[in-house]
Amino acid sequence: MTSRTTRWDSWPARVVPPMLVIGAIVALWWWVVARDDSAIFPTPWAVLTGAWELVKDGTLFEHIGASLMRVGIGFGLALVVAIPLGLWMGWVTPAYRTLNPLFQMLRPISPIAWIPLAILWFGVGNVSPVFLIFISSVFPMVVQTISGVHTIERRYLRAAANFGVPRSVLFRQVVIPAVLPEVVVGMRIGIGVAWLVVVAAEMIALHSGLGYLIMDSRNAGNRYDLVVASMVIIGLIGLLLDGLTRLLERLKTVRWRYVR
């Protein structure tokens, strides 16, 4: 790969400007709250000390762990279903024609709209949020995998046909690697939606998780410092999850798509 180390690529150039923006927003927030002398809206300092309280008594990590576990199971199941299903629907045209309209109908339904049904079917335990995460992340990943199969360039399929390789080799060495970059894009979308949904689901149905923490903090004595602290933590973990899936883009077998 060609080295392209301009000054915009060095790590301070990538870290400092976003930090400045966030710092400015926190300063503005502090200034507005201090001036209004609000009795209920917390200052950044109050948020920090509130979060520290939760760290000390250990409940914060329990909530984070609960949310992450639900996302892990729901997203994992979605991945295991979406990739084979997407490959099959992308490759076999009658399957695509038969199932695609159904998928296009289900896809725009907000995962939040499924919450009442999820509670009806699975109650208020762990199964409901896992189901919601599955429902919300499986469709983008299926759609992305299908589009990956459909956009394989014909010259590669022709080359494979020309060499007369067996079907297993065609799939292992041509179709799957050609689709992999699209699968990674689908995973990024899927994990983002999954994280969005777990918090929403926990607000309604559960007794653990970051979504529950938000609702519980408000209900149990208007602890808005903890509400905001939870929001910040949700944002930070979302950033982390996206960063982790982006690491997949560095895989050698995927990188061809991102260079040139």
Partner: protein, 254 residues
């Protein structure tokens, strides 16, 4: 020449395409041609005359509307590793290393049994086209000329009877284009194959081919045929080559 020595027999093939309004556009209008075993035949024609359609039918990617293509007397019904196509855009797999690309074709043949034999064969052909030391590189790390070498080596390794070259070097710059012509001739001197080159570059055809066929505009037919009776290495600047070039260009209306 006797019939049993013929490698490729093309018998009055035609092909048309139907446009959006349902009108049939004739592209190939009846081509009959025979290519002898080990012959290097160049097909020259104006842009858009249906050269690539002709190539697709020869390679088995498309079926002619009428007529037939036979290789070794057997009708072509689909693509086969006996006849490998190398086209302008290239089809080296970007997700496989050079070595994996070279080994790819061996999956469909019985030339190498074990993984070690395949890797050894891949390395042999990589060295043959001047890619030694790049076996583990990915295609995006290579230049356009090196990619063509990978493509050639990937074809040669399966020992095809026929090479179909569809403007193979026209995406390269002029210098690399000429270098690749010499490379190809050098390899062909080592391993004889029947070659069918489709090009719009008359000099390229004169430099490499034993015989040159000129196609007419659409619907394309064979307009003229020339034998290139010159020893290798050829000089394009020679009087004989220039006369031949003039004659071919005249056929193309230039």
């Amino acid at each position: 020449m006797s019939a049993e020595k013929m490698k490729i027999e093309i018998d009055a093939i035609t092909k048309g395409f139907t446009d959006a309004r349902g009108k049939v556009l004739p592209v190939v209008g009846g081509i009959g041609l025979q290519v002898a075993e080990g012959e290097f035949l160049a097909i020259v024609g104006p842009s858009g005359c249906g050269k690539s359609t002709l190539m697709n039918m020869l390679a088995g990617f498309e079926q002619p509307d009428a007529g037939s293509v036979r290789i070794d007397g057997r009708p072509v019904s689909g693509p086969s590793p006996k006849a490998i196509v190398i086209s302008q855009q290239g089809s080296v797999f970007p997700w496989l290393t050079v070595q994996q690309n070279l080994m790819f074709g061996l999956n469909g043949t019985a030339h190498a049994e074990t993984a070690q034999e395949r890797a050894a064969l891949a390395d042999h052909y990589a060295a043959m086209v001047g890619l030694k030391g790049f076996e583990n590189a990915y295609p995006h790390e290579l230049s356009g000329g090196m990619l063509k070498r990978v493509e050639l080596a990937r074809a040669f390794i399966v020992k095809p009877d026929i090479l179909y070259l569809d403007e193979p070097f026209s995406a390269l710059d002029a210098l690399m284009n000429m270098r690749m012509r010499n490379e190809l001739l050098r390899i062909l001197a080592e391993e004889r194959h029947t070659v069918l080159l489709i090009t719009h570059d008359v000099e390229e055809a004169i430099y490499m081919a034993d015989r040159i066929v000129v196609l007419s505009p659409r619907p394309t037919t064979i307009q003229a045929s020339f034998t290139v009776d010159m020893p290798h290495p050829r000089r394009i600047a020679s009087v004989q080559a220039q006369q031949l070039r003039e004659a071919i260009l005249a056929q193309l209306g230039l």
